[in-house]
């Protein structure tokens, strides 16, 4: 099971946090800090796997990918295959790239809700449900299209629409 997905900058700033096993919000920053310290201490050209049972509990492992100014981090337990998760990270990044056309850190900062949408198509409740980046894109585009359609009503102030719906 995948326990968490994190995207953070090489400065240690979280860009996306998603936990599939509950972590109290006040702990989030500690986790980010712990993972960041671990990753920033690792030299280049070593393996992409780290055991993190000190941070996430027994058996937890982490796969990360360092791309430009970002770390993409997936935390999971023993039921996943490290190399496969590494490719899952790749799928995620490829999808982002398709979605944003040459994705950069800023896209991710400003559109973290879109990242959540993409992740929700890939991983649900900690299990991988979709691994085809094409398929994911299709669903995400469909969502965007339908959202746009229903966008027309949303210019009316909240108070008025509430009165209507009563």
């Amino acid at each position: 099971m995948i326990q968490a997905v994190m995207v953070m900058s090489t400065q240690g700033k979280p860009r996306l946090l998603k936990f599939y096993s509950y972590q109290p919000p006040e702990k989030h920053q500690d986790l980010v800090r712990g993972v960041f310290q671990l990753l920033s201490a690792r030299p280049d050209s070593v393996s992409n796997f780290v055991k993190v049972d000190a941070i996430f509990g027994p058996g937890a492992k982490l796969v990360y990918k360092h791309l430009a100014t970002l770390y993409f981090v997936f935390v999971f337990d023993s039921s996943e295959n490290e190399l496969a998760v590494l490719d899952l990270v790749q799928v995620f990044v490829e999808t982002l790239d398709r979605c944003f056309k040459n994705v950069c850190e800023l896209d991710i900062v400003f559109n973290f809700n879109k990242l959540h949408t993409i992740l929700d198509e890939m991983i649900l409740g900690g299990q991988v449900i979709e691994t085809s980046s094409e398929q994911i894109m299709r669903s995400v585009e469909e969502i965007a299209r339908l959202e746009k359609q229903s966008n027309t009503t949303s210019l009316i102030p909240k108070s008025i629409s509430e009165r209507f719906s009563r």
Partner: protein, 950 residues
């Protein structure tokens, strides 16, 4: 900083248009990016939060704006700021009928809340409604939220809808419904158990995505109960075959591999289903072979599939051909330059050696390389592998390596883990008690506060009990060497508390036992310990008790020792300590100093820590006293249950009076309630003049103070529970020899390292003559690794020995000098003789073993006619090439006698082999029988046996 500035610049560009977010949000991100300190950032965000709080509560905000406000709130919370005021707004937004707002609401809710949150009850209702929606995106959003937010109690509320959705026309919905059901199953298996069959149905879904998603819950279910899903083996194999043959839509291809993630999941499932099931495994071999053949080692994902294949093969019923393929792939991994692949290779190797330990041999150098790699992950993984393959032959090298590594790591969690592993291995495989104690000393010195206190008690126990069956001489030698090493270490700063406790205890018990050190010297050391740790009451208690013991032993021996003035002041200080425990110990010491020789002998018998203390539960020694009380007219004792209220009140009163009268130093214990009440019924008698004062007191004091010294260490209690420990170290080879002299000689024959440590001077001469001849060889730098490898993989190495002998012969002894880099001076004894396994593995010493004593020829004899083929043959019962691992397998059970006998083809072998012969033969026969039935006895997989052999 430079980077931040570029972000700022790009942000400025972004604000002119682009990301579809408002200017305000862009500004927020920009100012956070430009913040120079954490404090500044916090100020910006708390200002933002104030702003959001106002706006969210404002009824005139347009709804599209609401979405953005909420996203900003999520952003602030992600940066670690409390946004709980906005949670209710997120919940409200899930009620909105506009899709973007609803989705944003659900997103925020599932990020903010969890199933135990109070607000969730408000969301459940919405989820219920949305699951019935016509818009499939709304349904999807609701399902996503349901996975996160529906707790055990809420499951029945949404379950019917979710089950209905399993047949939804949209595959995205079906997929998510499957996962939601899976999630419910994880939360509360009982409430969903009747619906489990739905997962089987979805396996036949037309959409490969749904099918792939269904594998996740099935995997979990199969892990729990593989037997109910055996019928699916054929289906899974078929699906895997179809996937591997590219029958799925090309959109599932990834880097030219057909649906790799589905393949991996299927392989995981097959590994579980095939474990210990010959028939099921038989179905899998073909498709596994196909996958191996098509295996693409160039891409990452191709290797992921191959790795999963290896895992599968090592888990299902073994097949020689498959194992060969797996071993070949593993070696490719290990030889790769990529750290990731090396990591996977080490992991795969760890799985394969469970089935066939020989495989490790081929890769010894690669493993050593990984051990020395700068990559910490790889290093740790390699230590895990070594941990798995530790045997009594290589334990010294492995544990030394582990300790060396342990000293340098700062991560407490991992340090604890590796320390406990060292302890575990040492307890299990220690070649000698001496080595065990030295190893434990190192562990305690560097990680004493991290290991379980039980380990400390075990160590003290070992020192106290010694070898058990063996002679006293060796015991006392062990103790005095422990005392030596502790006296050396004790002055060092920053020793962990538990280690100091051991030191104090051992010094107290055995410090003066061999007469090498004077009592006042030991007392001085103990006093230093107590002085240096003014805040650690436990250590001080140990120290003062140890001082007490030293005094007691000296008095008992009739020697007179003077109280050092500083020691006296320590006692005075402790007598007024806040800790009642320390106070009592100090008073006890003072009281003891006033007693005469005979009394002291009774109170503190020398070296009696292992004696059982008999507790007289009937308090028969009180009989005379009670009798006297009766004669004086006291009422007989009535048990509390039979007492009426009035009497008990009277009793309490009496007790009160008595307590005031008994204020002086009390050696009488409160422990046993009957005693107290018995005394309390005779209010007229005063306590002080006891009929037989001195012995009564002594008895009592002895039974009181003795356990108090040890009860802290828990030893008294532990003794009862840990009976099996000695067996764990069990060294039948040594204990079988009856006299000290014969024990040393046979030890030397079986294992040189041990004999030098234990037998000390007796064997040193013989050693010299044996090893002296080969000490002159030059060291080659490149040979060092090979030597290390050989000592790790020693056993397997023997097989290929013939070819390598010449190359390695040069330098067998130096190896250990490098591997055994121990700071202890005792090492000097160890070095020349310690190279346990590799001696014979590499170059045979000139003086040793005539070839006819080679245990393998003997083994061959046992097995009958043998084929000499070195390949793993498919009818393994007759193959000699298997013999080495047979031995290693069974040596786990039969342990040292057999192992050392088989590894050391020297003088003692005939004796040992003869002695152990029958059991070896039995073992081999049993193994051959097992193989005929079709089982590889791995020892690590007892379930396999249970299933197949009943």
């Amino acid at each position: 900083m430079e980077q931040l500035r570029t972000i700022g610049r790009e942000l400025a560009m972004g604000s002119q248009g682009g990301w579809g977010q408002s200017k305000e949000f862009l500004d927020l991100v920009k100012s956070i990016g430009e913040a120079r300190s954490k404090a500044e950032e916090d100020r910006i965000i708390s200002r933002e939060l104030d702003h959001l709080k106002r706006r969210l509560a404002d009824p005139d905000v347009p709804r599209r704006k609401m979405k953005e406000l909420l996203l900003r709130l999520v952003y602030a919370e992600m940066l670690g700021h409390d946004a709980s005021f906005g949670h209710i707004h997120a919940v409200k937004m899930t009620h909105d009928e506009s899709l973007p707002l609803k989705r944003t609401g659900y997103l925020a809710v599932s990020l903010f809340l969890d199933e135990r949150h109070d607000l969730v009850i408000l969301v459940v209702n919405t989820i219920q409604k949305d699951l019935r929606s016509d818009n499939y995106l709304v349904v999807c959003a609701a399902l996503t939220a349901a996975c996160r937010l529906i707790g055990e109690e809420a499951i029945p509320a949404v379950l019917p809808q979710v089950v209905e959705l399993l047949a939804h026309p949209k595959e995205a919905v079906r997929k998510k419904a499957v996962m939601a059901l899976h999630r419910f199953y994880q939360r509360s298996p009982s409430s969903v158990s009747h619906l489990v069959s739905n997962f089987r149905k979805r396996l036949c879904d037309n959409d490969p995505g749904v099918m792939g998603a269904t594998l996740c819950p099935l995997y979990d279910l199969i892990l729990e109960d593989p037997n109910s899903y055996k019928d699916l083996v054929v289906s899974f194999v078929n699906i895997l075959k179809q996937v591997a043959e590219r029958r799925l839509p090309t959109s599932y291809d990834y880097h030219q591999m057909p649906a790799p993630f589905i393949q991996i999941k299927l392989l995981k499932i097959l590994a579980v289903l095939g474990s210990g099931d010959k028939q099921a495994s038989g179905n899998m071999y073909m498709v596994l072979g196909d996958i191996f053949r098509k295996g693409d080692t160039a891409s990452n994902i191709g290797n992921a599939i191959l790795y999963e294949c290896i895992c599968c093969i090592s888990s299902i019923f073994p097949n020689a051909k498959m194992l060969d393929a797996a071993a070949e792939t593993t070696s490719k991994f290990l030889k790769s330059d990529s750290h990731n692949l090396k990591y996977m290779g080490i992991d795969a190797l760890g799985r394969l050696i469970k089935i066939n330990p020989d495989i490790a041999e081929e890769h010894q150098l690669a493993v050593i390389d990984c051990l020395e790699d700068p990559d910490d992950t790889l290093k740790r993984k390699t230590f895990e592998l070594l941990y798995k393959m530790t045997k009594s032959t290589n334990v010294e090298v492995i544990v030394d390596r582990m300790i060396e590594y342990m000293i340098n790591i700062t991560d407490h969690h991992y340090k604890t883990e590796i320390a406990s592993r060292c302890v575990e291995l040492a307890e299990q495989f220690a070649p000698s008690n001496q080595w065990f104690i030295q190893t434990m000393n190192k562990v305690f010195e560097h990680a004493g506060d991290l290991v379980n206190i039980r380990v400390a008690h075990n160590l003290m126990r070992l020192i106290a009990e010694g070898f058990g069956e063996e002679d006293e001489g060796a015991d006392s030698q062990l103790r005095s060497s422990a005392v030596d090493s502790y006296l050396r270490i004790v002055g060092e700063p920053k020793l962990p508390s538990s280690f100091l406790q051991i030191i104090c205890w051992v010094l107290g018990e055995y410090g003066t036992a061999d007469g090498k050190y004077s009592a006042s010297y030991i007392i001085g050391k103990l006093y230093d310990v107590a002085e240096a740790h003014p805040t650690d009451d436990t250590v001080r208690a140990y120290a003062i008790s140890a001082i007490l013991k030293i005094f007691a032993f000296e008095i008992a021996l009739g020697r007179k020792i003077d109280m050092l003035p500083e020691c006296q002041s320590l006692i005075d200080e402790l007598s007024a300590s806040h800790s009642t425990d320390l106070q009592q110990r100090a008073y006890e010491l003072q009281a003891l100093l006033g007693l005469d020789k005979q009394a002291v002998e009774n109170v503190m018998p020398a070296d009696a820590s292992c004696e059982d203390i008999e507790i007289d539960r009937n308090l028969s020694f009180l009989n005379g006293y009670v009798q006297q009380a009766f004669e004086n007219g006291a009422a007989p004792y009535i048990p509390e249950s039979e007492r009426s209220g009035v009497v008990s009140v009277g009793n309490y009163k009496a007790q009160d009076q008595q307590e005031t009268s008994a204020h002086a130093l009390r050696f009488k214990a409160y422990e046993l309630p009957p005693a107290a009440s018995q005394a309390s019924i005779s209010p007229t008698t005063d306590l002080v003049p006891v009929p037989e004062p001195s012995y009564y007191k002594e008895d009592h004091q002895m039974s009181r103070s003795q356990p108090s010294g040890d009860s802290l260490s828990g030893e008294f209690g532990l003794k009862l529970r840990l009976d099996g420990v000695q067996k764990k170290w069990g060294r039948p080879a040594y204990s079988s020899s009856s006299t000290p002299s014969s024990s040393t000689s046979s030890q030397q024959a079986t294992n040189g390292g041990v004999s030098s440590e234990v037998g000390g001077s007796t064997s040193s001469q013989a050693r010299e003559s044996t090893y002296g001849s080969k000490r002159q060889q030059a060291t080659e730098v490149s040979a060092e690794k090979q030597r290390l490898a050989a000592s790790l993989f020693g056993k397997a190495d023997r097989k290929a020995q013939a070819g390598r002998k010449t190359a390695k012969e040069s330098s067998s002894t130096e190896k250990v000098a490098t591997a055994n880099a121990t700071p202890q001076p005792a090492k000097e004894q160890v070095i020349p003789s310690a190279p346990p396994p590799d001696l014979l593995d590499l170059g045979e010493p000139v003086s040793s073993s005539p070839p006819l004593a080679d245990p393998f020829t003997q083994l061959e004899g046992l097995l009958g006619p043998a084929s000499a083929s070195p390949v793993v043959s498919e009818t393994p019962a007759s193959s000699t090439s298997k013999t080495p691992d047979l031995i290693s397998i069974f040596s786990d059970d039969v342990q040292t006698g057999v192992t050392s006998g088989s590894t050391e083809p020297s003088l003692g072998v005939n004796v040992v082999a003869a002695k152990k012969g029958p059991s070896l033969q039995d073992a081999l026969q049993k193994d051959a029988a097992a193989r005929q039935v079709g089982v590889t006895p791995t020892g690590n997989n007892p379930i396999l046996f249970k299933d197949l052999l009943g």
